[in-house]
Amino acid sequence: MKQTIFLIIVVGVVILGFGSIYTINETEQAVVTQFGKPVGGAITDAGVHFKTPIIQTVIKFDKRILEWDGSANEIPTLDNKYIFIDAFARWRISDALQFYKSAKNEMLAQSRLDDILDGAVRDEIANRTMVEIVRSSNRAMIIQDVESSSVNVNNKVIEDYSAKGARLDIVESILESVSKRLLDLNMGIEILDVQLKRINYTRQVQEQVFNRMISGQNQIAEKYRAQGQGKKQEILGMQVQRKKEIISGAYLESQKIKGEADANATRIYADAYGKSPEFYNFIKTLDTYSNTLDSSTQFILSTDNHYLKYLGK
């Protein structure tokens, strides 16, 4: 009997002993409740902790950074473009006690975050233009210049893509308003970061964008074709010009060569014949006689002729 009582006491002590010890992992934090009411502060230190057995319960929460991934929302921008915004955030339970009091569990907290974050994103996006949302600086961009090509005649209104991008400001501003809201609500939640994951046009707008891109490319293609034809004509024209230049240049030079030769020949003749013009005259005249007077010539000679001077005697 005595032994049995002793055994019961030992077992009881062991059960109570184990019931009063609990461990908190590095990834965990906890709140201790007594009959459903939290007792003391949040326990955030990892390691072994003690509590009153049986009447106190340990409720553990995650200490790590947790994710929030919103669903894509269709939001009109300030310049009336309908876009889908898909944002994500990272948050953590900064005060487990407050968190337990106001949000109870993670699932409920996520749904509260949905409301707060979706609202903040919507407010911010609706106040910004498309370019502000997409771009993050006013860095100058190289844009394929379809408009200025000579082929294109219809002048579209070119949007000002150089407007200051504000994506980082937007993200910052969403984070700020969500932080403020969470602080007001005192939910024990700290928001660490908000990022815009995906920004997409709605299907209809996307269609329009694709059509614009296609027509832009077609214009460029046309421009290349026309340029090709133009360049070809230019080259062919240049060919005619160059050919004429070459041939006429050669003609000019050949005439010059000939002219110089003729001048030289003339000088040579003049130098030689000038030594005795009288003899040249005589000998050339006689030469022309034998060249021009041939067998078909009829001669009627007078006896006065110098040649026949001996005949009359």
Partner: protein, 325 residues
């Protein structure tokens, strides 16, 4: 002393063990068992993160280590292993002929460019665990976090560049900037992750507009072909013209040489004859005259000599014979 238990029809005999015989062995077995729990090895590419009663104690390097049995827990973390995430596409089977998933990941790969066009971007991210303890304790679902951050970052980079830049000049810059930006955010979260590489695999116009982009390339090539053809014709004609030009000049040079040679020849002949003429002018003149007359009159078949004293003379010319003679 065997004990018997009867279960239904079967008698099970429980063999009797004399515990006293093994009395010395049991503590030894317990000690061996505890000893085997006290040692663990960390593989070459791993770090061991040791939790003591749930609290982070220390990180151990590869090798054999001691731990307190039942109190310490060790998590092996592959710190040197390079993990890869794919965006916009998925590799089904890597190898010599890598297979890719045929599914489209437009939601993931289509993104807005700074000039509000849409580009299709495929990229990969390679990362390593640089701090095993942070990796384990600071963030829940680290891989998903890397994915989210990667998508947000790429869109941030693409969104600040024009479509043309994204397709061409800025690819490297985007990847470099994305790597830095991703690392900043992941460090802010204390994920314990080191981004090793961000690489843009393919940056293309999205499928619905791809044809029109190919058309531009074709048109560009057509332009080039037209120019090449024209240049070819140009060169052909110009080479011919240059040949013709040389021909003209060479002919002129030939003419010039001929002309001067002829003139010099004529002049030399004249000068030589003149030299002799000057020695005996009268006799030479007479000889030339008589010789010429001889030739000229010798060739003429009809000669009429009329006396100068004749008062009236009407020469009769047989015009008919003129042609036949």
């Amino acid at each position: 002393m065997a004990q018997k238990i009867k279960i239904g029809d079967v008698d099970i005999q429980i063999p009797s063990i004399n515990f006293k015989k093994f009395g010395g062995l049991i503590p030894l077995l317990v000690i061996l068992f505890l000893a085997s729990l006290s040692f663990y090895t960390v593989d070459a590419n791993e770090n061991g993160v040791v939790l003591r009663m749930g609290k982070y104690s220390h990180t151990t390097m590869p090798g054999l280590h001691f731990k307190i049995p039942l109190i310490d827990r060790v998590y092996p973390i592959k710190v040197d292993f390079q993990s890869k995430l794919e965006f916009g596409f998925r590799t089904l089977k890597a190898g010599v002929r890598t297979e890719y998933s045929k599914r489209n990941f437009n939601q993931e790969s289509w993104m807005l460019t700074g000039d509000l066009n849409i580009a299709q971007v495929h990229w990969i991210v390679q990362y390593k665990i640089k701090d095993a303890a942070d990796y384990l304790f600071k963030v829940r679902d680290v891989e998903n976090t890397i994915k989210d951050v990667s998508e947000a970052t790429l869109r941030l980079m693409i969104g600040d560049r024009s479509f043309t830049e994204v397709l061409q000049a800025e690819r490297r810059a985007i990847a470099d900037a994305a790597k830095i930006h991703m690392q900043e955010i992941l460090d802010k979260y204390e994920t314990g992750i080191a981004i090793k590489m961000v690489q843009l695999q393919g940056v293309l116009p999205p499928d619905p507009v791809a044809d029109s982009f190919n058309e531009v390339i074709r048109a560009e090539q057509e332009e080039e072909t037209l120019v090449n053809e024209a240049n070819q014709a140009f060169n052909k004609e110009i080479y011919r013209a240059e040949g013709e030009a040389k021909k003209l000049i060479n002919e002129a040079k030939g003419y010039a040489i001929e002309r001067i040679n002829t003139a010099t020849g004529d002049a030399t002949l004249f000068e030589l004859v003149l030299k002799e003429y000057n020695k005996a002018p009268q006799i030479t003149r007479d000889r030339y005259y008589i010789e010429t007359m001889n030739t000229v009159l010798g060739n003429a078949p009809n000669k009429v000599i009329v006396d100068s004293q004749l008062e009236n003379f009407l020469p009769m010319m047989n015009l008919k014979n003129k042609g036949s003679k």
